[in-house]
């Protein structure tokens, strides 16, 4: 089994990328791979709580809850959260391995995974 790193930049409900991240992570986890995700820039807002469900629209919070449950590791750029004022709204530790992190943690992900993909 291999280790996959995923980096993305976009928040929820504007572009498709957060949904793609969830689908790709889910497929990799189902195949038994390890998945480590880094949320940079607006992507930190993809992992906020209390995203209301709208019929017909993929709920990004649920997507992240699912892959966290399956064992994905999710790191949120600390400074990106701070500057956006959304620090206190993130999914909590109870949901799985979701943590605030610094940019050097992306270097760690690059070092410790076999492949890194970026979802633009």
């Amino acid at each position: 089994m291999a280790r996959l790193g995923i980096l993305f930049f976009d928040g929820p409900y504007q572009k498709q990328s957060p949904e793609t991240v969830c689908n790709l992570a889910s497929a990799a986890l189902d195949k038994g791979h390890e998945v480590r995700i880094f949320c940079y820039m607006d992507a930190v807002n993809a992992v906020l709580e209390n995203q209301k469900k709208i019929e017909g629209i993929y709920n990004i919070e649920e997507g992240f809850r699912e892959i966290l449950e399956k064992g994905a590791s999710v790191k949120l750029c600390n400074l990106c959260l701070l500057v956006r004022g959304t620090m206190k709204n993130c999914l909590k530790r109870e949901c799985g391995d979701v943590k605030r992190a610094g940019t050097p943690d992306l270097a760690k992900i690059i070092e410790e995974t076999d492949k890194l993909v970026v979802i633009c």
Binding site: T20, A27, A28, K115, L116, V117, I119
Partner: protein, 99 residues
């Protein structure tokens, strides 16, 4: 020294396709189209036809093609791959160039 290179194109920026076309012939190059990049697979797209002419492999993410209803509009030289195949492609290539 030939290696397998995957151009992982998930945005509408055509630069990834241009770079893949110019990539040296020694390597085994695959262009993977995801998200809105699947629109590049339209038969009318010259860059993708050029890539196919240059013996690059072009594949597109099937769920992204299906949801956009593009099956009849894209070239039949482009293979559709599932998200599971995408995972395999990621690990079976030596290098991934994200775009």
């Amino acid at each position: 020294m030939s290696k397998k290179v995957l151009y992982f194109v998930s945005s509408e920026d055509s630069t990834g396709i241009d770079l893949a076309i110019e990539h040296g012939d020694d390597d085994d190059v695959t262009i993977l189209l995801l998200q809105n990049a699947v629109y590049f697979a339209n038969k009318t797209n010259k860059a993708i036809l050029n890539a196919l002419d240059k013996k690059k492999t072009v594949v597109a993410c099937k769920p992204d093609v299906d949801i956009r209803g593009l099956n009849d509009l894209i070239s039949d030289k482009i293979n559709l791959v599932t998200m599971e195949d995408v995972v395999d492609l990621i690990f079976t290539n030596d290098t991934i160039i994200n775009m």
